[in-house]
Symmetry: C2
Subunit: 315 residues, 2 copies
């Protein structure tokens, strides 16, 4: 009986201006998964902790389960039997890439357990199947950074073209998750199908500035580029006190602040851990001023992707 | 009597995916300007060569003239008297940044002639006034690369935020100007005011890929990113044989090929001068197959901006 326990990081998709094409991974929070081999072929979810009973237990309806199943089919190992225990360590439907972290943890773990038949980057399509299940489309802006670590551009989906962007040395992330829920599908539904050419140009300028700012690195340029004129103005409506919370982050030294993915969580970037902590307190206080409690996570950027926490593998 | 002769480079605006936010300068062609001081205050265009009599001779209606006048007003030196001779060395209305090169040459020359009271980057707004005269709006995607050299992002116009992107070592440009004319205002008029969100996302992915490709450098990534799904499909209609000419460039080793600015000139990038030459011949041949003659320019990227060719300054 072999077993492995893997951590995969939460992620911030979009990163203000980069709707659907950009994301990064954080050191904390993240999900953990434990896989244990068994004799009977197939994938079973034997337990899920931390989801308050809300996630499906059937493997083919669970993001981690489907990712592992799709992977085993692809490598022709449907003979393998796997018991899965999922340890959710972040809120669901939060905009923190919860489903992506579980899918990435699952597919990374099974690949490790089987002696790494595929290189890490080749695991992406299987994790994306988990996203298809969770969100209705196989988007990659959470799974790619969760799997590869750091900042990742999804240049194209057809064919899939994923580019890692070097992470600046001094960059910290504050995540604040207010205790309200926004459904990812709703958050997408309210977006307009058309964008003015004027706003497209402004957004492209900020995307170019953000990539250049990260790669130089030029923190002022990063800050000036963390501006979203297309998505944020629409989705902010779903978050009570959005503008006050954002202003609290900026007033306390954030390089920028916007929705994390489709929200309701909000992220802020800053240059040191003390600033990141102070930003978190200010953002929480702003939410609390209208009676909304929240959780805050402060960490550096995850640069490595998933991590094996324990393994007991007999070859 | 002091005099100076300055060269300023032609430029490729947009660079496929970067409509209105991106451009680069080429080593050849470019415009030259000669300024000579005189006693009587004011700016006069005393001669223009190479324009077939088409450019206005009144200083306030000439892109170089207005750039110099605006500069002199700004630094409070309307006492200065200047005779201007303009040597146009590229076709007008060609998409090669002809008006920008003249304006940049003019404002760079007057600043040098007066002992450089302003640093080069501060000259940009005056050159942009030349563009306002020529095109109806003070756009910067030609003047900024002509003035600063290399690849330049215009992240924002309000406030003006211009970012230089490092030029990869092995990059060459082929420019082909067919003997047809497209008016810049017409080329802008046919654009749609709305863009689908889907195409905005594709374009943002390519902008991110192009910046990352140039900065890494990663020539394959540059190549994959030189794709324009928003502007090129509309403007290509104005250029006979556009798709055949582009295919000829790609078949002969181009990393990418698209309109230079609003056309009708087309640019192609490649990794060595022999390939760049071959691409030029193939593009010209494709135009010639439908009876369109053309001029081709092959050069490396201009990395320095304008250059003083001669000066005779008594202090």
């Amino acid at each position: 009986m072999n077993s492995i326990r893997v951590f995969a990081p939460a992620t911030v998709a979009n990163v203000a201006c980069g709707f659907d094409i950009f994301g990064f991974a954080v050191a904390n929070p993240g999900d953990q998964i434990t896989l244990t081999t068994r004799e009977e072929p197939g994938v079973s979810i034997t337990d899920i902790f931390g989801d308050e009973g809300r996630l499906p237990r059937e493997a083919e309806r669970n993001t981690a389960g489907i990712a592992i199943q799709t992977y085993l089919q692809h490598i022709g190992r449907t003979d393998v039997g796997i018991d899965v225990v999922l340890h959710k360590q972040m809120p669901l439907g939060s905009g923190l890439g919860s489903s992506a972290a579980s899918a990435v943890a699952g597919v990374y773990a099974i690949n490790e357990l089987l002696g790494r038949p595929l290189p890490t980057v080749k695991l992406l399509p299987f994790a994306m199947e988990g996203e298809r299940l969770a969100c209705g489309s196989a988007h990659a802006d959470n799974v790619a950074p969760s799997l590869l670590g750091g900042f990742v551009v999804i240049r194209s989906y057809n064919p899939l073209d994923v580019i890692r962007i070097e992470t600046p040395a001094s960059l910290f992330c504050t995540l604040v998750h207010p205790d309200i829920e926004v459904n990812t599908k709703d958050a997408r539904f309210i977006l307009k199908n058309e964008v003015s050419l004027k706003n497209t140009i402004i957004q492209m300028g900020n995307v170019a500035g953000l990539i250049a700012g990260l790669m130089t690195p030029d923190y002022d340029l990063i800050s000036r580029s963390l501006v979203d004129v297309i998505i944020e103005p629409v989705r902010a409506i779903l978050i009570p006190e959005f503008h006050e919370v954002k202003q609290a982050a900026l007033d306390n030294g954030a390089l920028g602040c916007s929705l994390s993915g489709s929200g309701p969580s909000m992220f802020a970037l800053s240059r040191d851990i003390q600033t990141a902590e102070r930003i978190g307190q200010a953002m929480q206080q702003a939410f609390l001023s209208v009676g909304i409690t929240s959780d805050a996570y402060v960490s550096d950027i995850n640069k490595q992707g998933p991590k094996v926490l324990e393994s007991s593998v007999l070859s």
